[in-house]
């Protein structure tokens, strides 16, 4: 085992509801268990709190009590003359300077050679100005290249991460895309699987499960269209939709329109994923965009074979088509329905794919991921 280090994990928020926060605290716990001195820093505390497990074993600091104001960009002459806006801006800058000083102070508590992990590019606004001399700064992006490319974060990443020692995306394919845009300091690090359930799903229930927020990005509308093609041929099968979200009413309406009320079960939000997967025999994912989907990994860990849209490199990385799951071209409803029909119609295929999935997905196990992190820390010291 390598020596213990000081590790600072800096993210946008300490307790915002979302995947990155969960990742932050889980990684902090893992590194702590390996003997590293971990400290989590959030730029701000959030209003929409995430239900964090009992008291974290690592110190958590938020630089701002709430989301800091965004910089003022005056438009036109009249805007420039607004005294109040100017004063607000000056106050913002003062606050920011103070926050940066505090961050520098936190970094200085560690001896040189510590690692600063920046989980989201926005936090670089503060980390970039703070004093990180002697430490190694590692940036991260938790979304696929295409998703960044379509948003303002593409420019932010280029501006903030190009001067770093190393920054990480989720898959090698994403890293290649970034390298093609001239970012040569990019590496990759997959997300870790939370845990392996003791008992895999028996795969006996005639239920197809889908887990995800009911929002446009997760493509539940396409899932319903797909199910409309599957249901007539598999009258004894049910589709269990886990999750809640802003599109719920609209989706339920669509479900009724398609005449699927008999075979679709709206299960609501779930906190116990293995439990939800226990009575499912097939898992389906119909997202429009993904990073490195945890739900897919969890389904595989439960030994449930997956059918998914091949919408991002992360999906391809987790599921090997035909080996431990089935992939359909992104957006091709007919193809996804075909995959579901194959899985629901063939118990032997389900068993073969499910068993293999449970074994294969362990390459993303926590132990394996921590090993990769340790390797990376060593690598950056060479």
């Amino acid at each position: 085992m390598s020596r213990s280090r000081d590790v600072f994990i800096v993210s946008n928020s300490t307790d915002e509801l979302g995947g990155v926060t969960a990742w932050t605290h889980r990684t902090a716990r893992l590194l702590q268990e390996r003997g590293h001195r971990v400290r989590v820093v959030g730029i701000h505390a959030s209003e929409l709190k995430m239900a964090l497990p009992d008291a974290p074993g690592h110190p958590v600091t938020a630089l701002y009590p709430a989301h800091p104001p965004t910089p003022w960009a005056p438009k036109g002459l009249r805007d420039r003359l607004r005294v109040q806006a100017r004063r607000r801006e000056a106050a913002r800058v003062r606050e920011k300077r103070r926050a940066v000083q505090r961050l520098s102070g936190i970094f200085r508590t560690a001896d040189p050679g510590a690692v600063v992990l920046v989980t989201q590019v926005w936090a670089m606004e503060w980390v970039g100005e703070a004093d990180t001399r002697g430490h190694r700064v590692i940036g991260m992006s938790h979304e696929s290249y295409d998703y960044s490319r379509a948003s303002h974060r593409y420019r932010w990443i280029r501006n903030h991460y190009s001067a770093l020692d190393r920054w990480l995306v989720l898959t090698e394919e994403d890293a290649d895309s970034w390298a093609g845009d001239g970012m040569n300091n990019v590496g990759f690090m997959p997300n870790a699987l939370a845990g392996l359930p003791e008992v895999p799903s028996p795969r006996t229930g005639r239920c197809v499960a889908s887990i995800g927020r009911l929002s446009d990005q997760k493509g539940i509308d396409m899932l319903l269209d797909t199910w409309a093609l599957v249901a007539p041929q598999r009258p004894d099968w049910r589709l269990g939709v886990y999750g809640a979200g802003e599109d719920e009413a609209e989706l339920k309406e669509r479900c009724t329109e398609l005449g699927l009320d008999g075979s679709v079960r709206w299960k609501g939000r779930t906190d116990d994923v293995p439990e939800a997967l226990a009575d499912a025999s097939v898992f389906v994912q119909s997202s429009r965009g993904e990073g490195f989907p945890l739900a897919l990994m969890e389904a595989m860990a439960s030994g449930v074979p997956c059918a998914a849209f091949d919408c991002a490199p992360g999906v391809r990385e987790i599921v090997r088509d035909g080996e431990d799951g089935l992939l359909a071209p992104a957006g091709d409803i007919g193809a996804l329905a075909d995959r579901l029909l194959r899985l629901t119609g063939n118990p032997r295929l389900r068993d073969a794919l499910g068993e293999r999935a449970r074994v294969n997905v362990q390459r993303f196990s926590e132990a394996e991921t921590v090993r990769r992190w340790e390797e990376l820390f060593d690598f950056l010291e060479r």
Partner: protein
């Protein structure tokens, strides 16, 4: 220092500064465990040696200096010295002046550790022509598209086919020692051979899509060395039994090295040209295999062939042709077999005479003396008695030479660059020969050529040669060393001597002769500098900035982003003008399709409607009796805002609102084979706002024409159109087809419509229309290669058929040169229905045109080389193989076979075609236009026209 991870071998050779840059890039790596090994020859120049010494003292432990012994003279030997002294786990060799990218070692190391590969290669970039910019070789894009691990080097052919491994890779030192890999010391360019040998020896190879090396300089000075190294690689490949790779390498060598070398010829001095050509002749003699040479494009083939034969003059002409592919640069000869050949003069003894190089593909033979662009080679440019003496000859291909007896006259013209003003000089000594027209003239520049002196300082030369009423225009091609800098002439600008006093002949970047007005006296030079300052530096920049800002503001007012909200908030408040209709077809690209048929019906019935047509770029071809507005112009928006009816076949701009008082008649542009609208995967994967925009745009339709139940199940459902918006009338554009069919049945196919005469199609030739579908996605309009090789078609069926090629309205076709009258590009023709009635047969793939053409009951051939891929990628509504209205073929051979016996297959498919027409065109009865007008414009029908319609 402990064992370094990387040892980088750097040899001198490009000077002290380059050495320092290379070493700095090694010691400055983000991975710190790197060492630089500087190897210098024993007889190294003192400056480099001193620089190397300083580097060692400045960075102790990171840089080591090795002095090779006297026997090591070549770069290869120096590198071997470095390899032997290396201590790192991986070794990497840098060429002169090359620099490592900041994170190169980290990326290579990481890949090597993760994959266990012995050799890790990444991208490198090289200096371009002038040496100021860098670019990566184009083939790297494909080789490094994804990071990957190869079990064997043959898995990525580019590694040995191209010179991919001349730099930018590292080797595990342990593997280097195990295989005893060393540079070949007898080769001057040993790195060309070392890379492929190392790749062949190494077990696993990792390719990383990371930039590793920059600043590589590639000079063509040492052609002999490059050729020898290339030959060694080929021999090594053959020794491994990789004949295919060897052949590919020969081809790549010709296009990557030889052709670019030939292209530089006009800029080289004559002696240098001779030197290169003789080196090439020695190294290339019978080395480029015929099989390889034949597969090169014609001009490249000529260049390589002439280079191998050592014909310096011929290579210069080939170089000109490579720069201007439309120009004829040699007296081409047409053989008895109809093939056109580039003649090759006999050279010396021992080399057998060549019959010439086949360049028929270029299609020069189809053009005559006046239409061809002939190379006019300047052979002399000198000063004689204060006048400019020019001598040269115009190359004449045999088929285009004027009759021997024809009197020839010629004139030399100097025309101001980017202007219309020109001065002409008579050419006296014009002498016609079989293969060339020689000419010679004295031009009195001082007296005749009178420029103003400002904004007209550059004048281009052209020669007009007239023979029997046809005139040939040509630029004067000159090699750059032909001109003597001392040949200058007095100039008399109208603004006086201050504007300039001397004419200076020079050769332009395109290798043509031109004159420029230069000042030589002191006041004129000072004035010129002053003017240059004002027009290029601070004052001009200030003015430019102001202008740019003004232009930006003006462009904003003209932009769609400004116009659309202005339309939606303001123009839509205007009162609706009763009885006004805006027509648009294919987003204004043409005057055709169903909107045209409806417009003509409206005119025929004499409806009192105010008709407006929208055009995209040019109003040509649009009806004169309608008001014409350019798409997206303010008039267009005004017309749309006030219109009572919108008639369109594709979609008025999505972001324009349709007001409640307006009726939108969407005629649509064809039944669907591929999935459309919300059935399309691309649309489904769009995010919610994008899909909402499409839904809003489609919701504007008030009437949507359908031709059959198929349309209702596909299009109407895909665009989520309620049933009460559908008009089951068939397409108005197809009325003409049904009328033509009725005429066929009663009177026969002849006489043809007037269009046939306009296109110059004789009655004895059958007309085949080729209309492939759109293959691109949204985005820029691109020129694409057609799936069908029309040149082969012309060769095979040219006597029997005339092929009309119609590219999709969103694309443009690029057609090769074919014999006149065999292939015509009709993509620009407004109305496709007219072409359909003219065509005796149709070739298409998945275009909706087939659904319309079957109404004519004429043969259809579906040529779909990528049917399965297309159907998988775009999705389809039915199985084309099952329902095809004609033979479905997937290769050109099959297509030609079917066309050869069109009549027989036609009878076979008559049944299927009728069923197809019935299924997809059930409502097409030939009166669609009248039915639609009656349904939509009912309120405007006068009593008389209502009765006439009955």
């Amino acid at each position: 220092m402990s064992t370094p991870e990387f040892s980088c071998v750097v040899t001198g050779g490009a000077g002290a500064a380059a050495l320092r840059a290379s070493v700095d890039s090694v010691t400055g790596q983000s991975m710190r465990a790197t060492e630089a090994l500087v190897v210098l020859p024993a007889d190294c120049d003192p400056a480099t040696r001193a620089a190397a010494g300083r580097l060692v003292t400045d960075r102790p432990g990171r840089v080591r200096l090795l002095l090779a012994d006297g026997t090591a003279t070549t770069t290869g030997a120096l590198r071997n010295t470095g390899l032997e002294a290396a201590r790192g786990r991986h070794v990497l060799v840098l060429g002169p002046g090359e620099r490592l990218q900041l994170h190169a070692c980290r990326n290579l190391w990481e890949a090597a550790e993760r994959t266990g590969a012995d050799l890790v290669a990444g991208r490198w970039s090289r200096l371009t022509g002038e040496g100021t910019k860098e670019r990566e070789p184009s083939w790297q894009q494909q080789l490094f598209a994804r990071s990957r691990t190869l079990a064997r080097f043959t898995d990525a052919p580019e590694l040995t086919v191209r010179d991919a491994l001349v730099t930018g890779f590292c080797l595990r030192r342990e593997a280097l020692e195990r295989h005893g890999l060393r540079y070949a010391e007898e080769l001057s360019r040993s790195e060309i051979l070392f890379g492929p040998l190392a790749a062949a020896a190494a077990g696993r190879i990792a390719l990383v899509r990371r930039l590793v090396v920059t600043g590589r300089a590639e000079s063509d000075q040492d052609l002999t060395g490059v050729l020898r190294a290339h030959r060694s690689v080929c021999n090594a490949l053959v020794a491994q039994g990789l004949h295919d790779l060897c052949e590919q390498r020969e081809r790549a060598f010709a296009t990557d090295r030889l052709v670019p070398l030939v292209r530089t010829f006009p800029r080289l001095p004559a002696a240098e040209r001779e030197r290169i050509v003789s080196a090439a002749a020695r190294g290339l003699a019978d080395s480029v295999p015929d099989a390889v040479r034949e597969t090169l494009p014609p001009l490249e083939r000529v260049a390589v062939h002439l280079l191998a034969r050592g014909d310096a003059d011929g290579v210069l002409a080939a170089s000109y042709a490579l720069h201007r592919p439309a120009a004829v640069a040699a007296p081409l000869v047409t053989g008895d077999d109809g093939r056109v050949r580039w003649p090759v003069p006999p050279t010396g003894t021992g080399v057998e005479p060549s019959p010439g190089i086949d360049v028929t593909e270029l299609g020069h033979q189809y053009r005559g003396f006046g239409e061809l662009r002939l190379m006019n080679r300047l052979t002399r440019c000198a000063s004689e008695d204060g006048r400019l003496l020019l001598e040269g000859h115009l190359v004449l291909p045999a088929h285009a030479a004027p009759d021997p007896g024809t009197p020839l006259t010629a004139e030399l013209e100097f025309r101001v660059r980017d202007g219309a003003r020109a001065f002409r000089f008579p050419v006296t000594g014009v002498r016609g020969e079989a293969t060339a027209i020689h000419w010679r003239t004295h031009a009195d520049l001082t007296r005749v050529l009178r420029p103003l002196g400002a904004r007209d300082t550059v004048w281009d030369a052209r020669l007009f040669v007239e023979a029997g009423g046809t005139r040939s225009v040509s630029d004067l091609f000159a090699a750059h060393d032909l001109l003597d800098r001392a040949d200058r002439f007095t100039a008399r600008p109208r603004l006086g001597r201050l504007a300039g006093d001397t004419w200076e002949p020079y050769v332009t970047l395109r290798n043509h002769l031109a004159l420029r007005l230069v000042p030589t006296n002191r006041p004129a030079r000072a004035l010129r500098r002053l003017v240059h300052y004002a027009t290029h530096f601070r004052p001009a920049r200030k003015a430019q900035l102001v202008l740019k800002a003004l232009r930006r503001r003006r462009d904003r007012w003209r932009s769609r982003a400004f116009k659309a909200p202005a339309y939606n908030t303001w123009l839509c408040r205007l009162p609706v003008r009763r009885g006004s209709v805006v027509f648009e077809s294919h987003m204004g690209k043409c005057y055709g399709d169903s909107p045209r048929a409806l417009y003509e019906e409206v005119r025929r019935q004499g409806l009192r409607l105010h008709c407006v047509w929208s055009y995209e770029s040019s109003p040509q071809g649009f009806p004169a009796d309608a008001r014409l507005v350019r798409r997206w112009s303010w008039r267009y928006l005004w017309a749309l805002a006030r219109a009572e009816y919108w008639v369109d076949n594709q979609g008025f701009p999505q972001n324009l609102r349709k007001r409640p008082g307006t009726t939108y008649l969407q005629t649509w542009h064809g039944s669907a084979y591929k999935r459309m609208g919300f059935d399309e995967t691309r649309v489904r994967m769009q995010n919610a706002p994008q899909r909402r925009r499409l839904q809003e745009a489609v919701r504007r339709f008030d009437h949507f024409l359908v031709r059959s139940a198929h349309d209702v199940h596909t299009l109407a459902r895909a665009y989520r159109l309620p049933a009460d918006r559908l008009l089951a009338t068939g397409y108005p554009r197809n009325d003409a087809l049904l009328a033509a069919r009725a005429r066929d049945e009663s009177e026969g196919r002849l006489p043809r419509p007037a269009l046939a005469a306009a296109l110059g199609i004789p009655d004895h030739k059958k007309v085949v229309l080729y209309a492939p579908t759109f293959r691109g996605g949204p985005g820029k309009r691109k020129r694409r290669r057609l799936p069908l090789d029309v040149a082969r078609f012309a060769e095979r069926f040219g006597d029997e058929y005339t092929l009309l090629v119609r590219a999709h309205y969103l694309e443009a076709a690029r057609l090769p040169v074919c014999p006149p009258g065999t292939v015509l590009d009709v993509s620009a023709h407004h109305d496709v229905t007219e072409l359909l009635t003219l065509a005796d047969a149709l070739i298409t793939d998945y275009s909706s045109i087939m659904f319309d053409y079957v109404l004519l009951d004429r043969p259809v051939v579906l040529f779909a080389p990528d049917l399965d891929a297309y159907a998988a990628a775009r999705g389809s509504y039915f199985d084309l193989r099952e329902k095809a209205p004609g033979p479905l073929v997937e290769t050109e051979e099959e297509l030609f076979a079917v066309l050869g016996r069109l009549k027989a297959t036609d009878i076979e498919f008559r049944q299927a075609r009728a069923a197809f027409a019935e299924e997809f065109g059930h409502h097409d009865k030939g009166d669609a236009a009248r039915a639609v007008v009656a349904a939509v414009f009912a309120r405007h029908l006068s009593r008389t026209s209502r009765e006439a319609g009955r």
